[in-house]
Subunit: 423 residues, 2 copies
């Protein structure tokens, strides 16, 4: 009898109890969850997770980036570690399922394997990655864990340097030590994450399990057009150098580039600011943010080029200067084929309808996929709503997702020597 033959399932009552307790931590009065990284609510959730790990008789691990893990040794010498996980942090006024579900499903699987006494060819570890939502630094935990985090990124963190330092110190961490959180990727057999879809495809296709094949790449820019501040009632309309014209023309052009050349891709200009920002002064500076997404590596690179070229030609047209700040990117990734196959087989065994899905949102799995064989399992989010108190997944789907996660671990453990090579 191979391991995967046994019809092992999670303990749904224990799983649900954990979920219900966790859903109270950081709950606000309008049914939302607010657990931004290192907030008091997030710290409480982290402490609760640590207690659950210890209660389950698992080893507790933590690192210099605040990632917390439960660890179950397989007993073999120099065995690699198979990682399950997601994140306990949330956006402000978000939902109960995003991230949290994947962490407690992983915890439940470690407990179930431990109490069943299953002998796996790898250690199991369930990890809560720090700040997936990017309150302080996008994907801080998984970036630090994989060694993708750079000193340069920490110079201009998304939430500001002071907020990062204050947040880290609350958790007893420091900026200097963050880069030491890097784990040796040779010791990681693979990474598997369960997450809600945050999109409508499973619902529209009446399917229960999404097998993520690719995760879109995403790039971030800040563009500033530079003109000259003048009195709006006296400076010649023909000759004034109005930075607002550059920002406006680019905002329209970015959309045209995507619609005409990259119909499967997405872009957004979500923020703009004019300086000095007064009724009667020609804007001397107009700053906008640009993000774009593609699941195809070649298209992703071509969008970079098209956007930059267009931003410059618009500056020229309106006699403006331009500052282009590249704020970072995550490359599009393809997820491991063996993992995808075994997620499919696991779902089939459980009589669940599955379908491939391309993820447009970022996940810790995206970071991991550049380093180790990685899989990502989606379950239904009602109406695709996420980052909102209305985020909802029927409990049956949560149990199904956790069981597919377990099945996939068991199936992969059977063919452990294979999937590493097929990455």
């Amino acid at each position: 009898m191979t391991i995967a033959d046994i019809n092992l399932k999670i303990n749904p009552e224990r799983f649900r109890k954990d979920f219900n307790v966790l859903s109270q931590i950081g709950a606000d009065s309008q049914n939302g969850i607010s657990r931004p990284a290192f907030s008091p609510a997030h710290q409480e959730a982290r402490n609760w997770f640590r207690a659950r790990i210890l209660d389950a008789g698992l080893q507790f691990k933590t690192d210099e980036a605040g990632n917390q893990s439960g660890f179950l040794e397989c007993g073999l010498n120099n065995a690699p570690t198979f990682l399950l996980g997601s994140h306990l942090d949330s956006v402000i006024h978000g939902g109960k399922y995003d991230g949290a579900l994947g962490v407690i499903a992983g915890l439940e699987i470690l407990r179930r394997v431990k109490e069943t006494g299953l002998a796996l060819p790898f250690n199991l570890e369930v990890i809560d990655f720090t700040d997936e939502e990017g309150t302080l630094v996008s994907f801080l935990g998984s970036f630090a864990f994989t060694g993708k985090l750079t000193r340069k990124q920490l110079q201009n963190p998304r939430g500001g340097k002071e907020a990062l330092e204050v947040g880290l110190s609350k958790a007893g961490l420091t900026m200097e030590n963050l880069l030491k959180a890097r784990r040796d990727m040779q010791t990681i057999a693979g990474y598997l994450e369960l997450h809600i879809e945050q999109g409508p495809l499973l619902e529209q296709n009446n399917a229960q399990i999404g097998i993520v094949d690719r995760i879109s790449g995403i790039a971030f820019y800040r563009l500033s057009y530079l003109g000259k501040a003048e009195h709006a009632g006296t400076a010649s309309m023909q000759n004034r150098r109005d930075a607002a014209l550059g920002a406006s023309a680019f905002t329209l052009a970015a959309r045209e580039i995507i619609l005409e050349q990259f119909p499967d891709c997405y872009s957004n200009v979500g923020y703009v600011k004019y300086q000095p920002g007064l009724f009667n002064v020609v804007p001397e500076k107009a700053t906008l943010t640009l993000e774009f997404r593609s699941a195809d590596k070649k298209e992703f690179r071509r969008i970079h080029t098209e956007m930059i070229n267009k931003s410059k030609s618009i500056a020229k047209k309106f006699n403006l200067g331009i500052e282009i700040e590249f704020l970072g990117e995550r490359e599009p990734v393809e997820l491991n084929a063996t993992f995808r196959k075994e997620i499919h087989n696991g779902a089939q065994l459980l009589n669940l309808k599955s379908m491939p899905i391309t993820s447009r949102a970022g996940h810790d799995a995206q970071t991991m996929a550049s380093f180790v064989p990685t899989g990502l399992i989606f379950i239904h989010s009602v109406k695709g709503i996420s980052h909102s108190p209305e985020e909802f997944t029927p409990w049956e789907d949560c149990i199904n997702g956790a069981n597919v996660l377990l099945q996939t671990v068991l199936r992969l453990s059977n063919k452990y020597t294979d999937f590493d090579e097929k990455k």
Copy 2:
């Protein structure tokens, strides 16, 4: 001998002494002047002005809008009043000349007429209009004085309602009483203002005296395009309702309207804000400010129509809603022809080169011109710089301006029965 034949001139030493003392009130360390309405520095300037009026043996008057005047009776029964003036308030970190010069030139003329014992056919009054710069309410003083101020305007004042209430209370004034400041316009014979040009035309034409023929009208709008906030990585590029597209298209279109249809006019989109204003959320609301200016009444009305129509057609094109807030306007005005002629004659008598100028900036004279015969005299501003510590006018030009102001009053007093009809 008619009055205008006498070669009366102002007392330049007394005029300069006043200017120098006033230039210290609200002076900051970088040579700028900060006397926003009802600030401590503005109050100090107002107290100083009151003391100068009383020292000169003039009557002191004030009203419910905080306008302060020096008054010189002519001794005739039921004589009308000829008004001189400008404003003592300034923008933050502005210059010494804007407004202040016109007030002290008017004061000097009242003193000179009084000490000479000249018998004029009208009373003379020098007025400091409250808040010309619009820290609290644009043209608060002259609007209240002429009865142009409305309750509606006070509901949403430019600087916020609380700031207005606090400012008024510092000067012992109240919102409720503001509308009582209205003076009977039948009692005002005319209004004459001396001001720096705040533009480069006199300098470019090597002229000393600008005879303002028209003052541009200006209109203010706030436009908000209304779309739908969605996840920028999943909402269809074709179908999303992106408010930023409306704001961007309108910003470009407003300029095209002016360039193509109204080449003598001006417009500006100086401020914009997207909500929620995040990298990864499609903007659901994009708010921009629009102002435009024209010195021609018909064109001014046509611009209103063109801008509104264009803003609506853009909303339709991008499947957006639109909110149009009209925030107010000042109509273009033409200044009194008799006043213009006598400014010209006065300048000629003093051997000064004069030229007609259309004012693109607003002045209290603009408010007054809708109600009484009005004239506006410009003197040189070096390089046209204003609202800046670099604002500068050679002292000789200030004296020339004050003497032309005096000459014009004397000349108009000779033909008092005429100019009222020619308005």
